[in-house]
Amino acid sequence: MSRIAKALEQAMKQVEGNQHLSDGAPDDRANEKKTARVVQIFSSDAKATGVPSPSSGKNIDKSDLKNASPFLRAMFDDNSPYAESYRMIRSQLLSLTDQNEGHTILVASAAMGEGKTITAVNLAALLAKSVDHTVLIVDADLRRPNVAKCMGVETDKGLSDYLSGSVSDLSEILAPTGLGKLVLLPAGRPTPKTSELLTSMKMKKLLEELKQRYQDRYIIIDSGPLLAASETATLASWVDGVVFVVEEGKMSQRTVEKGFSLIKNCNVFGVVINKADPHSATNLKAGRHYYK
């Protein structure tokens, strides 16, 4: 049984065990709900194959995103051009990724603050919103983890704990996001050995197992900036594809090129231009096309 299946089993047990605690705090009840959903998501196929498989799950709506980042909430606004842009990216990625291959996607950027976390989260949410996909979003930016905060999920342990061995069971660190079929693998507690952990064989094995075991699941990995975190380039070589995020007009071309050069030998799905000015050249073109 895979680690995820084991994790789900334990989660189920925990839910069953805590069901009687109906007088718990609102947050606890919320967490329970989320956990139940995680179990629900991953349990429907577990009985059949012993392997968690995607299920229809509940549709995500804004009420589920009370604590989430407004950028994430905007994803669920059908009239938002912001959401439309991400839908386009999602379409591209779906086209680029095969049904049975290429589901592990690293979202990277040259420097920090260019929007890769938001991009990763939004992509993961949109992918999870679709009918056919379950998504695991991994926060591999152990130095500045933001995915959980962006999604409004409180976490304790995470990837760093797992990789360091303080947590042996992956199920302990998987966190429900409350967004349907989207599960979060948070970054975990801060560690000084970020690079070593992320480039360890354990991490590689984890990725391989995630790829092989859940072939129809999308794994979106949020990473640290390429020029600041050396492990990102290593991760890029282990994944099926990289989405490179560039913030318009922020970094100099030379900086971006330098960051991109670190992954040029990897499979780059494409470049996403983020924070495009409404009147800029890029957005001007985008606007003409998008609102034709």
């Binding site: 407004p70 950028f71 905007a74 051009p81 912001y82 842009s85 991400y86 386009m88 990216i89 591209q92 990625l93 086209s95 680029l96 990724t97 290429g102 929007g115 991009t119 099926d240 594809g241 989405v243 490179f244 560039v246 318009e248 007009g249 922020k250 970094m251 100099s252 071309q253 030379r254 971006v256 090129e257 991109f260 040029k264 499979n267 780059v268 799905f269 494409g270 470049v271 996403v272 231009i273 983020n274 924070k275 495009a276 000015d277 409404p278 009147h279 800029s280 050249a281 890029t282 957005n283 001007l284 073109k285 985008a286 606007g287 003409r288 096309h289 034709k292």
Partner: protein
């Protein structure tokens, strides 16, 4: 994955037909660059605008006063003006300006102005004074508008000073120029008077010398060579005749002496002593001497030495004659008729003739001696006549020269006096102030309106230039083509800027506040500009 990449390329995310024109894209690119660094742009704008405006406001106004002067008598400008024609030669004009400038801005003139206007009231040391003098000399500008019209201008921060300096300088120049002519005339008159004095003294000295010469050489005046020669010839003739006469007289004397030897001086007879009634022989001699005197007076003056000696001789003869006559008279009184031996009448006659002859001889000898002396003197004089004449000529010539110079000086004195009288009546006719300097109201510099408008433009330019410069030096990605070309990867999505959240609101509020203050500041600057424009138009500030 290469097939996926190719798939991406086939996906026309952004059809090229919908692209904007290149200019619009470039404009948007630049706009994006400025928008991204808007705070920097705003800071630059405000910094330049405030800096230049402040500098303009604190700059002191400079006022200018001008005076237009007409030259009534162009000839005073000397030969320069002869060369100036309709199309005046630039070199000649430049020389004219330089001449005017040197004359008008000489240290003496400037110091006169300073003293008159009390501009050195606050001066504490020599260095400050020198700075003041140099400032005026450098600040006064002279421009020749036409050949007989020039403009004097001066710029200063104090309008009153500007006007006063120009007017005082022009007046001082005119006054000095006219006064110098008068001074020259007075000096000329004084010089002429001095010369007259000098030549007067020389003339007097010359007269004195001439007079002295005349006294020392009396004959030089009246005697000329010809008359001297004539007289010499006459005297030689007389000498010859006298010598002949002397010889005759000597022969006669010898003959008479011979005759006397043969005669007895006495004969016996009773006779009465007769007093001879004939005149004594001295009387005869006296008569002859007087006749000779009369002859000589026809030739010589009474002061002639020969005349003088003859007079002396005549006087002695007269005394001798008078003694003889008185003796004879005594004899006549005491005469007795007695028998005596009577003088031989022949002997007596002979003796008389002998005496006469002796007298003639004496006289002739004296005459010959005198003639010889006179001849010698005349010959000597004749030999000395050229020198005397030369001396006389020299003295006469010198006197003539001095007299001529004296007369000439007197003539010039008269001319100078007349000229002075004419100048006294002709005051200030050389220069005429056509347009005196007035109190300037509007400053000539700085042109604050131009400066403030320039400040606006410069601020805008700077606000745009710096962000664009940064963008040019270190460009960022702002369009799809550049990204795809540089990175070699397709753009699969463009996420627009999303302004949500408290942070964005905060940013917007900050930006709005900045823009608000900036707008107020720009309005303030604009009001200052309007104020300056109103000042230029009306001559007075509307506010502040």
């Amino acid at each position: 994955m290469n097939s996926n990449t190719a798939l991406v390329k086939n996906v026309a995310l952004i059809p090229k037909e919908s692209y904007s024109t290149q200019q619009q894209l470039d404009f948007n690119k630049f706009r994006g660059a400025i928008a991204q660094r808007r705070y920097l742009a705003l800071f630059i704008f405000l910094a330049i605008l405030s800096g230049v405006t402040w500098k303009t406001m604190v700059m002191k106004n400079v006022y200018e006063a001008k005076s237009l002067v007409l030259i009534d008598k162009p000839e005073i400008l000397g030969p320069l003006l002869r060369d100036l024609t309709q199309g005046a030669d630039n070199a000649a004009l430049s020389a004219l300006v330089e001449t005017l400038r040197k004359n008008m801005l000489s240290r003496t003139m400037v110091e006169k102005v300073i003293k008159k206007l009390l501009l050195d009231a606050g001066i504490k040391n020599a260095a400050q004074y020198e700075t003041l003098v140099a400032g005026i000399q450098d600040g006064v500008k002279i421009k020749v508008q036409k050949t007989d019209l020039f403009e004097v201008s001066y710029q200063s921060e104090k309008p009153e000073n500007t006007r006063d300096i120009v007017n005082t300088l022009v007046a001082a120049y005119i006054e000095t120029n006219v006064g110098s002519n008068k001074t020259e005339t007075n000096e000329a008159i004084d010089f002429i008077k001095d010369q007259i004095m000098i030549y007067k003294e020389k003339l007097d000295e010359s007269d004195r010398q001439l007079r002295k010469f005349k006294e020392n050489h009396p004959g030089a005046l009246t005697l000329n060579e010809n008359s001297l020669l004539e007289r010499l010839r006459n005297m030689k003739t007389q000498l010859l005749e006298s010598e002949l006469q002397l010889k005759g007289s000597k022969r006669e004397l010898e003959s008479l002496r011979e005759q006397l030897k043969n005669e007895e001086p006495l004969s016996i007879k009773t006779i009465k002593t007769r007093v001879p009634k004939e005149l004594p022989i001295e009387a005869l001699r006296l008569r002859e001497a007087k006749a000779k005197m009369k002859d000589m007076l026809g030739v010589y003056t009474e002061k002639h030495p020969n005349i003088v000696s003859l007079k002396r001789t005549i006087q002695e003869m007269e005394e001798a004659v008078s003694r003889k006559i008185s003796d004879r008279n005594d004899l006549m009184e005491n005469s007795l008729e007695n028998e005596e031996v009577e003088a031989n009448p022949v002997y007596q006659a002979l003796q008389e003739r002998l005496s006469k002859a002796q007298t003639n001889i004496d006289l002739t000898t004296v005459r010959i001696t005198e003639l010889k002396s006179m001849i010698a003197k005349d010959e000597k004089r004749l030999s000395e006549t050229p020198k005397e004449q030369e001396e006389l000529s020299r003295l006469t010539r010198g006197r003539s020269v001095y007299q001529g110079m004296h007369d000439a000086m007197m003539g010039k004195l008269e001319q100078a006096s007349v000229s002075k009288a004419v100048e006294d009546n002709d005051k200030g006719a050389s220069f005429r102030v056509l347009d005196p300097a007035a109190l300037p109201v509007l400053p000539v510099s700085p042109n604050k309106i131009k400066l403030m408008i320039s400040a606006f433009l410069l601020a805008i330019f700077g606000a745009m230039a710096l962000p664009l410069g940064i963008e040019f030096i270190s460009p960022a990605f702002r369009d799809i083509e550049t990204i795809e070309n540089k990175l070699g990867a397709n753009v699969i999505g463009i996420i627009p800027m999303m302004e949500i959240g408290r942070e964005n609101r905060k940013k917007n509020i900050i930006w709005s506040i900045c823009m608000g203050f900036s707008s107020l500041f720009v309005m303030f600057i604009t009001m200052l500009l309007v104020r300056e424009i109103a000042f230029r138009l009306n001559g007075a500030y509307l506010f502040f």
